[in-house]
């Protein structure tokens, strides 16, 4: 599944930042505890030095035991293996009726040849509380930091990527046929985007040039081809009037004529496609589709001796705003298609209402991708009868008028639907 840049970025931050912050806070905690213990040790040391000094100055008046402060034990030998390190212990506070945590340090002292055990106490409670408070404060700060980083990051990436999204929007609206102008700002303030936009501008310019050239080429080629076709036609007209015409040459001539007519038709259709591409049908009007369709159907029924059985349900007065010539071409191509790609004793069904036009005809299934039928020079099985441009024209015209077209093959019928909305 794809996500937006922002989602991806936030996700990334939310996965890795807490991890980093967690490791950081563990480190912080360890160091905090270490420093607190170090401080306690120093306190114990200092206290011990002070008490011992006081004791050696006035041994008689000195109280030897103060709970939670110190113990001086005369004639006591401390085991040498005891570490010269503070230890934790707890004493019972009789007033508060609870155990209180202390850190203690016991050392072996010698005075006037006698051994003394000196133990000093420092309460751990305050230090522990301090550690917890500092640590909590740190957690709060880190959480705040996390939130701030994510928010700042989102804001800044929104700002950073803004030119990119603008570019994306414009690129999406670009269409080589209908919307070929795409000018991207190459002064976005960000080098990479400037570069991107610059490159895209150049690319689009190239594409447009190539497309224009190609359109121009098709149009020019078709125009150029018309003259030779006209010459062949005129010469054939002389030939068929030749008194020396034999049946064999007549048959050859008939084939040449048919081929030349096909060439001429191909040419006309190509030219038509090029013209639609070149937007040479700009004038639109209110077109009564029902009337045009009826007229075309009638014409075709006259044209073909074996016109397939026709059933129709055409609502009257269905109108649309379009170019009349193009509507005629569209409808007559669809009808012609239904006649040519039919079977013996087949049928055609035509339906027109406010929503759609349906032309269905009996016929053999087309092999391959049906979408391809609307491409230029993609033909079904009756290839020799057609130019392969009829449905391409249909597609082009529907695209120009922003109509949706759909092809289906079901129940041994080709069914083409044009939706008007």
């Amino acid at each position: 599944m794809t996500k937006t840049l922002e989602q991806k970025n936030t996700r990334y931050l939310l996965i890795w930042l807490p991890l980093v912050l967690l490791v950081g806070s563990i480190l912080f905690y360890v160091m905090l505890v270490f420093h607190a213990h170090h401080m306690q040790e120093k306190q114990l040391d200092l206290k011990q030095a002070n008490i011992w000094k006081a004791f050696t100055l006035h041994p008689e008046s000195m109280v030897l035991h103060i709970a939670g402060e110190y113990d001086i034990d005369a004639d006591k030998r401390i085991r040498n293996d005891l570490p010269n390190q503070p230890r934790d212990t707890s004493l019972f506070d009789h007033e508060k009726k609870q155990f209180v945590e202390f850190a203690i340090l016991t050392r072996q002292m010698n005075w006037k040849g006698k051994p003394y055990g000196l133990t000093t106490y420092v309460s751990s409670k305050e230090v522990s509380h301090l550690i917890i408070k500092v640590f909590l404060a740190e957690i709060v700060i880190l959480l705040f930091l996390l939130l701030a980083i994510v928010l700042v990051n989102r804001r800044s990436s929104q700002r950073l990527w803004k030119p990119f999204f603008l570019t994306l929007e414009k690129a999406a609206a670009y269409d080589v046929v209908r919307n070929p102008s795409m000018h991207l700002d190459s002064r976005t303030g960000i080098t990479e985007f400037n570069q991107l936009n610059h490159e895209l501008n150049e690319l689009v310019e190239k594409v447009n040039t190539v497309y224009t050239n190609q359109k121009q080429f098709v149009e020019n080629a078709s125009h150029e081809m018309q003259t030779p076709v006209a010459i062949i036609r005129s010469k054939i007209e002389f030939l068929i009037n030749d008194p020396a015409l034999t049946e064999r040459t007549a048959a050859l001539l008939a084939d040449i004529t048919a081929a030349n007519e096909r060439l001429s038709q191909l040419n006309k259709n190509l030219l038509l496609l090029a013209k639609i591409d070149n937007n040479q049908f700009p004038q639109v009007e209110q077109v009564n589709i029902s009337l045009v369709l009826e007229k075309i159907l009638e014409n075709y029924q006259q044209h073909y001796e074996n016109f397939p059985a026709l059933t129709k349900s055409i609502q009257p007065q269905i109108t649309t705003v379009a170019n009349l010539s193009l509507v005629e071409i569209l409808l007559s191509n669809l009808v012609a298609n239904a006649v040519v790609h039919n079977i013996a004793n087949g049928s055609i069904h035509v339906e027109l209402d406010t929503q759609k036009l349906v032309i269905a005809n009996t016929g053999n299934e087309v092999k391959g991708d049906p979408e391809q039928l609307f491409e230029r020079f993609k033909k079904g099985d009756d290839a020799s009868k057609t130019t392969g441009l009829g449905l391409a024209l249909v597609k082009q015209i529907t695209q120009l008028h922003q109509l949706r077209i759909q092809y289906k093959y079901e129940k041994a019928e080709h069914r083409i639907t044009v939706f008007f909305n």
């Binding site: 018309q226 006209a230 010459i231 030219l271 013209k275 010539s325």
Partner: protein, 224 residues
């Protein structure tokens, strides 16, 4: 009848000139803009067939020149450019008709004939050949005084064949003449056959003999 054809494609020019000469036209050709101007200045024609793309200038400019000098020749434009704008521009400039390449010579001939009839046949709107009498205004046909009732398509067909009488006219030319641009999509010429069949039948009923012959499946010939 004097005719000037201005067309730069020599082979096509030759065909047109030959076709019209065979039909008893006094026909001259010009292959360029300059030649066209010279011929137009020196002679008077009944009709000018004009190509738009010419070496040395546009046929439309020739047309402008012609109309500026108050020459009233009938002008038919033949052009490879079939765009509507060209058509409108040509007709606006005073062309009488417009034909897109590739065209059939029989069609061009019919257009020229029709133009000349419109322009010069003062008063007389009937066409009489043998027993055939065609009223061009009412679009009615009589054979030996008896009216033949024809559909519009049959009438068009008959008039076209009559204009090109005693010549073989191809099925394609007939199809295009009757249905115009729409023949684009007609792979079948069934309808030409059935129209001819009906026309022959109706003529026969009025006592007209074998008016139209089929020529090897290439086309038809009206002999009169």
């Amino acid at each position: 009848m004097k005719l000037l054809v201005i067309e730069d494609e020599e082979s096509l020019l030759q065909s047109i000139v030959e076709y019209f000469t065979l039909e008893d036209f006094l026909c001259e050709g010009a292959g360029s803009f300059q030649q066209g101007i010279e011929k137009m200045e020196d002679f008077q024609y009944d009709c000018i067939i004009l190509d738009i793309n010419l070496p040395g200038g546009s046929g439309l400019d020739l047309l402008k020149y012609l109309r500026k000098n108050k020459k009233s020749e009938g002008v038919i434009i033949i052009s490879a450019r079939s765009s509507l704008d060209d058509k409108i521009a040509g007709l606006d400039l005073g062309a009488d008709d417009y034909l897109t390449k590739p065209f059939h010579l029989s069609e061009l001939f019919a257009r020229v004939k029709s133009l000349i009839r419109r322009k010069y046949a003062s008063g007389s709107d009937t066409l009489e050949i043998n027993h055939m009498k065609v009223d061009l205004l009412l679009k009615t046909v009589e054979w030996a005084g008896k009216q033949v009732v024809l559909t519009k398509n049959e009438y068009d067909l008959l008039l076209f064949m009559l204009t090109n009488k005693n010549r073989v006219v191809s099925r394609q030319a007939i199809a295009e003449h009757i249905y115009g641009e729409e023949t684009d999509n007609l792979a079948s010429f069934d309808f030409v056959y059935s129209h001819i069949k009906n026309l022959k039948k109706k003529m026969k009923e009025k006592g007209c003999g074998d008016l139209i012959q089929t020529v090897y499946g290439l086309g038809y010939k009206l002999s009169i």
